[in-house]
């Protein structure tokens, strides 16, 4: 336990001069040997990153400006980009992706936080409840998604049974373009909320109890305590999780792909990544797929930059 406190704070102050002294004392031969060993340890990971991360990253940008003509790869200029901008599915996919992200934030961001707040109040059964919420995260997505497919079935599905017992009208769920996206979001929330809930729970346990006591002395009720103590105290983790969740949900693929076969009724669950998949693996149009990928990457990058800027300015 003493290790981090001993080595960490000392490093920036003393590390540099000590290193330099060692470097000047170190003979050329020894420095060379030290570096060869060090790079020897690195080589496996560097090769893998090079082949499967860095090279594809560069290639993505090159592909976006190339196309395939009679089996030969030629430069395409901006034609891939103009092709995707003129595809009506492009705008539909972006609308759906934003709708999905919005719904997923309403459910997938708020629900885990609310659940964490409730679980944190209990003095009993916490370990059991924590295991429960995390269970779906450990299920293979194919299993959980197909389960939901059966539950959503308008005929014999479990969900319409439940609605019926409460006297509510049956829904078409995945089969209607009005409710398909919402159905996908509900399934995705169930599948993924465990991790966020546990992270919030850990953050809530770090809030000093005196803050609540002080708020009570000021006469704050339950909701004012949440608003003035709980949320500000977990702000950092909340905004980090919000950003991560937006970036993850904008890339949603598996849930709509397995639930509705991708596009869904009247393209109502066609997302951007779904469209990338269609361009690349249905139409073998890698250029357009890469161009759309670059657009998605830029949108996410701009979004993250704006988010971090806003987050920082609201902090001051």
């Amino acid at each position: 336990m003493a290790a981090p406190t001993l080595s960490r704070p000392a490093a920036p102050a003393k590390g540099r001069p000590a290193g330099r002294r060692r470097a000047s004392r170190e003979s050329f031969g020894r420095a060379l040997r030290r570096n060869l060993t060090a790079h020897g340890f690195l080589i496996g990971a560097v090769l893998c990153f090079g082949l499967f991360s860095w090279y594809p990253m560069v290639r993505e940008f090159i592909l976006a400006f190339q196309k395939n003509e009679d089996g030969e790869t030629v430069w395409a200029g901006w034609s891939n980009l103009s092709y995707i901008f003129n595809d009506p599915a492009f705008w539909q996919a972006w609308r759906n992706t934003f709708a999905f992200t919005g719904l997923a934030l309403l459910l997938g961001f708020a629900v885990p936080f609310a659940v964490a707040i409730v679980l944190n109040e209990f003095r009993h059964g916490r370990a059991y409840l924590r295991v429960l919420v995390y269970l779906p995260v450990m299920l293979p997505p194919v299993a959980s998604v197909l389960l939901f497919k059966y539950f959503y079935d308008p005929g014999y599905g479990l969900f319409n049974r439940v609605l019926e017992t409460f006297g509510l009208p049956a829904q078409d769920w995945l089969q209607s373009s009005d409710t398909a996206m919402l159905s996908v979001v509900i399934a995705a929330t169930w599948m993924n909320m465990g991790a966020a809930t546990l992270i919030y729970l850990a953050a809530l346990q770090g809030i000093p109890g005196e803050l609540y006591e002080a708020a009570e002395l000021d006469g704050a009720g339950l909701f004012r305590k949440i608003w003035h103590v709980t949320i500000p105290q977990t702000r950092l983790i909340l905004s980090l999780m919000l950003l991560m969740q937006i970036i993850a949900t904008m890339q949603v693929f598996v849930e709509p792909f397995l639930l509705t076969g991708g596009a869904g009724p009247e393209n109502s669950t066609l997302t951007v990544v779904q469209l990338i998949y269609q361009y690349a693996f249905t139409f073998n149009n890698y250029g357009s797929a890469a161009a759309l990928g670059v657009v998605l990457m830029l949108v996410l990058a701009v979004f993250s930059a704006v988010f971090v800027r806003l987050d920082r300015s609201s902090e001051d």
């Binding site: 060090a38 082949l51 109040e121 009993h124 450990m138 194919v142 169930w190 109890g209 998605l296």
Partner: protein, 293 residues
């Protein structure tokens, strides 16, 4: 710890009779709702796999299977060739784990303790990959494994296509490096003074001290391969080479529904067992990685 902690609702309120009643009421409600919401689907899956086809399609559905047919499970096992799929998935998952551990631990150790020239730049380039949305890279990655540069091999349908990309997990390298950073320099220097080579130091000092973090990254690596869908679907099209997920998905339409659900139940068991056995490590790793990171 739970008892001593002061949370949103004050202990004074909870001590009153009305507070007590509300607490136990809310507690009972949450226990029931959560059990239904999270165990319910698993129960439905396990029991639907035991029902006959007629009983499965029947409305309203039966809560307990009237006629228990465990042979659904054995039929699903042989029809979908689950033994082969399970074996494939194990080979992919544990191979990926082995490559990830060897290469990422070595890299993190080198970056943390051996400090080579350009080490910072290499770490930066690795961490930069975290900024690129993963799904955007699927297309160029797919084209790359069709014809890997340098070795000029097509990796489609070979286990390498799962194993090698599993190494490119910058988050694991980051977690490992940060852990290695906290091992005091003096220990390493003492080992070097005694004439230990870097490899010896890694084996007898760094690795034994790093068991907790190695456990966490290992569990997440295995589970990630087990759960992955899009990448294995694209790169392992040969039915005899597929993973459990992809195999069940692609053959799912051709078997009766009760058998399909039995197959899903079988496919869910390994990760659920991993979770129940290692839940402490998993939950610890989850919060350690995100809160302090």
């Amino acid at each position: 710890m739970a008892e001593s902690q002061r949370t949103l609702i004050s202990p004074a309120v909870l001590a009153r009779p009305r507070g007590k009643a509300l607490y136990w009421g809310a507690f009972a409600l949450v226990m029931v709702v959560f059990t239904l919401a999270f165990i319910g689907p698993l129960y439905w899956m396990a029991t639907s796999g035991l029902k006959s086809s007629q009983e499965f399609a029947q409305t309203p559905p039966t809560l307990v299977p009237g006629e228990v047919r465990p042979e659904n499970y054995s039929e699903a096992w042989s029809v979908l060739d689950l033994a082969q799929l399970l074996l494939n998935t194990c080979v992919y998952a544990f191979g990926a784990l082995a490559f990830m551990l060897v290469f990422d631990v070595a890299a993190a150790y080198s970056l943390s303790k051996l400090r080579p020239v350009l080490g910072k730049a290499i770490l930066g380039a690795m961490l930069a990959t975290l900024m690129i949305p993963a799904t955007v890279l699927v297309v160029p990655q797919y084209l790359t494994v069709l014809d890997v540069p340098l070795v000029e091999r097509n990796l489609i349908n070979s286990p390498w296509v799962i194993w090698l990309p599993a190494v490119t997990n910058a988050f694991n390298i980051f977690l490992l490096k940060r852990f290695f950073d906290s091992i005091p320099r003096e220990l390493m220097d003492a080992a070097a003074m005694d004439g230990a080579s870097p490899m010896r130091t890694l084996r007898s000092i760094v690795l034994p001290m790093s068991r907790p973090i190695l456990g966490v990254v290992s569990i997440f690596a295995v589970v990630a391969v087990w759960k992955d869908f899009l990448w294995p679907m694209l790169t392992l099209p040969d039915p005899s080479k597929q993973t459990l997920n992809v195999g069940i998905y692609s053959l799912g339409a051709s078997v009766p529904e009760n058998q399909l659900i039995a197959a899903l139940a079988i496919a869910s068991v390994p990760t659920l067992v991993i979770f129940l056995v290692f839940q402490r490590n998993i939950m610890h790793g989850l919060t350690a990685g995100s809160l302090k990171g």
